[in-house]
Symmetry: C2
Subunit: 449 residues, 2 copies
């Protein structure tokens, strides 16, 4: 069940004050690791370490695996080498790799030395795979079976090894050279007549390579609804598995990256509150600079057309309204197209359909909004010339925004860049520049300047 | 393994031309349902139905569950009542509910009548739960056990019922009144000494209610890494379960909704290519209108300050650059804050920290960008007065953008609205209005107008 977090926190604090550690232990042992991890954040480092020590060892490791980078580092910092060694040794391999990725190289070196030779070997191998690759996030703790085994023998083997494995629900059939021959679900083993051979129970495996990008791994797993996917090396030998709990983390991580890219922010590793302010500023700076440099073009444009602005001052009044509307339409279109590409709803063959769709919706929206602009211009008493100019310009910039929003992500995809890079801010800026030129050309024509 | 999609498609088309249906069957039977579903889209409706009919029944149902709304509807449309009845009857309950959600009410009525009484009863119950609630997405196909059973008996019961269940890996212990007493993992049953009673093997269940929102269900499941979560009614009786494959779909759906909201688009149900253009235009229209109406304020502002614009024309040149930069900074800040809230990284107690952070980063970025603005102004030969005005204004608008981006989502959260509603377009517009006022006030002060 879900504990009332406040109550839990309250009780524990009380008991700590009373130094009734036995009771604390008693209360915490049935609590979910994720909840304990969250609770630990609420206490001062020293208390945190104390509480952590009160946890039964297995629980302590689960809790540790649930904690965030900085807190883990600090917790390790406050523990004795022996405690540290125990935690690291017992962590599951994939979580350990994730931890080492966060820790400073110095600490990692030190920790690696504390591991048992076998665990150290594993840890080193995993750390050598590229970031965000299947190899980096996989765990070698899988159940391996042989084709010649019967269902009965297989279940027996699973019984013997289950505890040390990440999952026993999906098992992997290997030949003598550890090549992946097939996968078999525990469900099928249980349902099967005991003497059936695995060769007749196993399925064709869906697998990835150690180099495969984690996003692709997640997409395959959700596409084929598999709870564990095998990872093979260049020689097609099974070296590890990625399980569904990893997939959830990956999908969340990748979504966050896209949100950031689409807002013109380079992906930030840490969570918002943990991240250093200078880091965030740096991640935001680049796109702001690119945009402001592009925007400087607008000053040139305005200077070039200042004759028009001087003869018809009221043209100025509508500049923000115009470019704002175009930018908004562009952001909308870009988001729809980029998301469609990410989800694989939009493919190459659809490109022209997409352009057509955005052109038509652009015209529909543009005309509808133009009416508002027209009315507004009359209200300001600018005279019908300017009013018509504004109305036409609105149609033009909304169309422009839609096309920029549709084309730029496509071009990015062509250049093999993540389309999400074509962020709202960037598109808004592009639309500002071209929107103004269109506006003044229309003005020159309508108002004969 | 993953099939070369093009080859598959090519072979099938050839064989269809040759009318060698036996071979088609042979080739398709080992192919993953997801791949067959995708392949079907590539053929004309008639061929699609023909191919679908060639599939072995079980595979056909899996494939059907993988298909998208419109294609499914059309396939049902082309099948005989008997074929239709078979498919619908055999579908798993949660997928059937999802299908009925997509189909026109008339069709649903017709289909419901074709179902066997039991299945119809289930379908009707599920359809009565609110949209996006746990009740709507759950399936009643779970394994129920009793506390008094031994591990051995439990496994026996699982063997008997496995085929009709969504999962057998997580089982649910109920009392005589079907109240949820605990959950037990198949892993623990297999590892346990055969005569152990479930009462000593089961864990405290993490559960949700039929009314719980699907997003909350997904968050709980990923937080506690559970592969199936029980759903109980008001009387705490177990009525269904939600499994991890549903979670993946929910997370993707919710992320898409957030992307759309943050771009000022009301969530679109269908995928981009399936959605009707007028629907999309309608979903985009509202925010564009809100923004353009807000933007009209900028015209008033500019009119009010036209005296300044007339005396110093060059002030006009920097309007797009200024408000653009402010809007971009605002979009960045808003995205970071909104995403932080969605992921639960930012909580109430952090609000002031967030404001502080955005103020500081705003000043840092503002000052850095001001230098560029200053340089640009000199290049255009506007004289130092305007240059200084522009530089100061840039600092002001970037700060303004950051604060708008930090505050508006917080306010939305206070009003119990999804913070994602504070979209980039809206924030850009707000910043346009206030940015201009700030700009001209600075100008008045610096240039003594």
């Amino acid at each position: 069940m879900i504990y009332s977090f406040e109550n839990l926190l309250h009780n524990i604090s009380d008991l700590l004050k009373k130094k009734d550690y036995r009771k604390v232990k008693e209360i915490l042992s049935p609590v979910e690791p994720a909840d304990i991890a969250e609770m630990l954040y609420e206490f001062q480092p020293v208390t945190r370490v104390l509480l952590f020590r009160l946890l039964p060892k297995d629980l302590a490791i689960d809790v540790f695996e649930m904690m965030e980078g900085p807190e883990r580092e600090e917790l390790l910092h406050h523990s004795t080498d022996e405690e540290m060694r125990e935690i690291i040794e017992e962590m599951s391999d994939d979580d350990r790799t994730a931890l080492f990725d966060e820790l400073p190289a110095k600490t990692v070196k030190k920790l690696l030395l504390q591991l048992s030779p076998d665990e150290r070997k594993v840890a080193n191998t995993l750390l050598n795979y590229p970031d965000d690759s299947a190899g980096r996030i996989m765990t070698p703790e899988y159940v391996d079976l042989k084709e010649a085994m019967t269902a009965e023998e297989a279940i027996e083997r699973i019984r013997k090894n289950a505890r040390s494995k990440e999952t026993i629900y999906t098992c992997f059939v290997l030949d003598s050279k550890r090549h992946l021959k097939g996968v078999v679900e525990l469900e099928d083993l249980i349902m099967a007549e005991p003497h059936t051979f695995l060769s007749s129970l196993m399925d064709e495996p869906i697998y990835v390579h150690t180099q495969t990008d984690q996003e692709e791994v997640a997409q395959l797993m959700s596409r084929y609804d598999v709870q564990a996917i095998p990872v093979v090396d260049r020689e097609e030998r099974l070296v590890g598995i990625v399980t569904f709990d990893d997939v959830l983390d990956i999908l969340e991580e990748e979504a966050t990256e896209d949100f950031e890219r689409m807002a013109g922010i380079q992906p930030v590793e840490e969570s918002y509150m943990d991240a250093n302010m200078f880091t965030i500023a740096r991640k935001r700076f680049m796109w702001l600079v690119i945009c402001i440099l592009t925007e400087t073009i607008t000053s040139t444009v305005l200077k070039k057309y200042s004759f028009a602005l001087q003869s018809v001052v009221s043209l100025t009044f509508f500049i923000p309204l115009l470019i704002g509307t175009g930018g908004n339409a562009g952001t909308q279109a870009a988001t729809l197209v980029i998301r469609g590409m990410t989800l694989g709803e939009i493919e190459w063959k659809d490109i022209w359909k997409v352009i057509a769709r955005e052109t038509i919706t652009g015209l529909m929206l543009g005309c509808a909004l133009a009416v508002l602009g027209l009315g507004r211009a009359y209200m300001l008493g600018t005279g019908s010339g300017v009013a018509i100019t504004v109305a036409l310009a609105i149609i033009a910039v909304v169309l422009l925004g839609n096309l920029a929003g549709a084309f730029l992500p496509v071009i990015a995809r062509m250049l093999k860049i993540d389309p999400a890079i074509m962020s709202g801010p960037f598109i808004t800026t592009i639309v500002d520049v071209f929107g103004l030129i269109v506006y003044f050309e229309i003005a020159r024509y309508v108002l004969v300047l």
